[in-house]
């Protein structure tokens, strides 16, 4: 384990050095709020920012992603043969990602990167990405990450964890990817490991203690799917839902997508878009039959998937990292914490 001390005054200079090899991504203020964006020249991530509205999942799993292309000109030999589009998978680094947002990529991997199936778009983007996390010293009121097996200092899916100690960052270098990024930045002021770890441990305890929002889900495992599925509360929970797609789009762990083809003149593009169980179309069959016709069924699906089906299938905890974005941005204030408690009670 290597811990590097970075003077904040040298931070931006270091990032500029890394740009020779890396495309940088980070939180940028856009109008009045923060979004994760590709950072142009001389643009630096806002490391003091609160949560971005959308999670960083789009860096690896974009909302709209071109997959395949084909030439429809029958005079050409390769006409109508789908070929993978060329995408830039040169190294990229996400700066200041919240540790629990990074953990969400581990959850996405369970869907996109398995022994049996490998989604090439996700896997190539993930392989190209270095995740440089920033420990959350002052968790907000929406953060319930410690209730769902992650937390403000979780290193599970980070390559580097930065800890803000005031004028400096302590950079805990966790993986080879992280090592490469830190060295390309020219950060090499290695510090005494024991002291640094002690400082980090203190800050971590303080941050975890500051988390006010908790959720209990200990009894979900002991309940049967049907018991929860047929529970009497779903109509009441769903009443206020307007079936917009905000919760699923802001969520770092929602992984569903839909595939579309578009043609123009003699060319065709196949691409995928984030899809959402909140939409009626999500399950509408070609026959017109829809197994989830009503909004109650759709709302139930979202919570059952995150809190029951996923844990049952993968045995990796909930499909939620406690970032609180869905709680904060739901236009009608449907609160996953409340629903989880109801299911757990």
């Amino acid at each position: 384990m290597k811990i590097i001390k970075i003077d904040k005054k040298e931070w931006e200079q270091g990032l500029d050095k890394s740009r020779k090899e890396y495309h940088l991504f980070g939180a940028v203020k856009d109008k009045d709020y923060y979004l994760i964006q590709a950072l142009g020249d001389k643009v630096y991530p806002d490391m003091e920012s609160s949560d971005t509205i959308l999670s960083p999942k789009s860096v690896i799993f974009p909302q709209t992603e071109k997959m395949l292309t084909a030439n429809l000109d029958e005079a050409q030999d390769n006409h109508h043969i789908m070929e993978r589009v060329e995408t830039d998978y040169s190294p990229r680094a996400v700066l200041g990602i919240k540790p629990y947002d990074a953990k969400a990529f581990k959850i996405l991997q369970l869907n996109f990167d398995t022994e049996e199936f490998k989604d090439p778009y996700f896997c190539d983007a993930y392989a190209a990405t270095t995740l440089v996390g920033l420990a959350v010293n002052n968790p907000g009121q929406f953060d319930f990450s410690t209730s769902v097996d992650t937390g403000p200092f979780d290193e599970t899916d980070l390559d580097v964890l930065l800890i803000d100690t005031g004028n400096e960052y302590l950079a805990k270098v966790i993986t080879d990817k992280g090592e490469n990024f830190i060295s390309k930045c020219g950060f090499d002021n290695q510090t005494d490991e024991k002291n640094a770890l002690e400082t980090i441990s203190k800050l971590k305890k303080k941050a975890e203690k500051a988390i006010v929002s908790t959720v209990s889900h200990d009894k979900l495992n002991g309940k049967t799917i049907l018991e929860l599925y047929n529970a009497p509360f779903w109509d009441d929970i769903a009443f206020s839902c307007i079936n917009c797609e905000t919760c699923t789009y802001v969520c770092p762990t929602c992984w569903c997508f839909d595939i579309q083809d578009e043609t123009k003149d003699k060319s065709c593009i196949r691409f995928r878009n984030w899809d959402t169980c909140m939409s009626r179309l999500f399950t509408e069959h070609a026959s017109g039959h829809n197994p989830r016709e009503g909004k109650t069924q759709r709302v139930r699906q979202r919570f059952m998937h995150k809190l029951k089906y996923f844990p049952d299938k993968y045995d990796q905890g909930l499909m939620c990292v406690g970032c609180g974005r869905c709680v904060k941005h739901c236009p009608v204030n449907i609160d996953i914490r409340e629903i989880c408690e109801q299911m757990n009670s």
Partner: protein
């Protein structure tokens, strides 16, 4: 606690007890500061959970078409704009007047939550109001602000704060605002050159994530299948192509022409803070200027776009 809260609870209890309605649609306290959660009270105990505050910014008329199982009447708390959308529902044959028990709520405006959030560097942890004073707290500071200065922009220009249709009222009617120039914002856009307008609308929608919260929060958007969701034929591309995004916004706005009450639910719901009323406001201005029409004021009037009058403006015909 807002002075309306107790009155709403008592009225709702009475309505439910007397069987004047089978349920009452209102708001209950949200789980986070400055949030209110649409809620249906089905019995007197439920009615204790009803609240009112200046954060009840969604339009409850939006919930009426979704209620399928109700043999008796549906009770609903309706501020000025909600009541106008109830009128629109009645005029458009979405619901019968006889099916409704309307508890009218003279409104003094809803607050702009996003504007208030900008006063703080950290998260808002508490919100309360005393008359016209809003008390907002975060971990690091407390602000006492004047509600009238932090109204949502649609509430600033509202001239129908009082419900236009009701069976009972929560309080005496409030004084209506007199607005000198109701469409100053629209005129600013009208004065732009074509290029500036393109640029303005391109920027306006650039952050749209197509979550359709604006559409789904809108009481007008009750089509069984919205044109963006049609798959045969598919009218609009599904991806993040900017032309497809703009097509959605432009077409949705036109579907609201002569029907929009400027209730502001669309902007309230938008997670990306897109000011989508910039589209519908222009159509409201046109409706007023061309047809002397404001939507949802009278159940006996047909909207101008579903009737023909010989003296309808026809300057656009060569």
């Amino acid at each position: 606690m807002h002075t309306y809260t107790e009155k709403i609870q008592n009225l709702a209890k009475d309505v439910l007890k007397q069987g004047k309605a089978e349920m009452v649609i209102g708001f209950k306290q949200g789980t986070i500061p400055m949030a209110a959660n649409p809620f249906v009270a089905k019995n007197e105990n439920d009615a204790d959970n009803l609240i009112w505050s200046s954060t009840c910014g969604l339009n409850l008329a939006n919930y009426l078409p979704g209620i399928k199982k109700c043999e008796g009447k549906i009770g609903i708390i309706a501020k000025g704009c909600d009541s106008r959308n109830i009128v629109t529902h009645i005029v458009e044959n979405k619901i019968d007047r006889e099916k409704l028990y309307i508890i009218g709520l003279p409104c003094t405006g809803m607050v702009d939550k996003k504007q208030i959030a900008l006063l703080f560097d950290d998260e808002i942890t508490q919100f309360s109001e005393e008359g016209n004073t809003l008390i907002v707290k975060s971990e690091t500071k407390e602000e006492k602000i004047n509600k009238q200065e932090y109204l949502r922009s649609n509430c600033k220009t509202c001239t129908h704060r009082n419900p236009v249709i009701y069976d009972e009222l929560v309080s005496d009617l409030v004084e209506e605002q007199i607005i000198e120039d109701q469409f100053a914002d629209v005129k600013k856009i009208e004065a732009m050159s074509s290029e500036e307008k393109w640029d303005f609308f391109d920027k306006l929608t650039e952050d749209c994530i197509r979550c359709y919260a604006c559409r789904n929060a809108c009481p007008l958007c009750y089509c069984p299948t919205c044109f963006v969701d049609e798959s045969g034929p598919q009218w609009v591309g599904k991806g993040q192509n900017t032309d497809d995004i703009k097509t959605f916004h432009y077409l949705r706005a036109y579907h609201c022409a002569g029907r929009c009450t400027d209730c502001g639910a669309c902007e309230e719901a938008c997670p990306m803070d897109i000011k989508v009323r910039n589209f519908t406001r222009k159509l409201n201005k046109d409706s007023l200027e061309l047809f002397n029409w404001e939507a949802g004021l009278d159940i006996s009037q047909r909207p101008p776009l579903d009737t023909y009058q010989p003296d309808d403006p026809d300057d656009f015909i060569m």
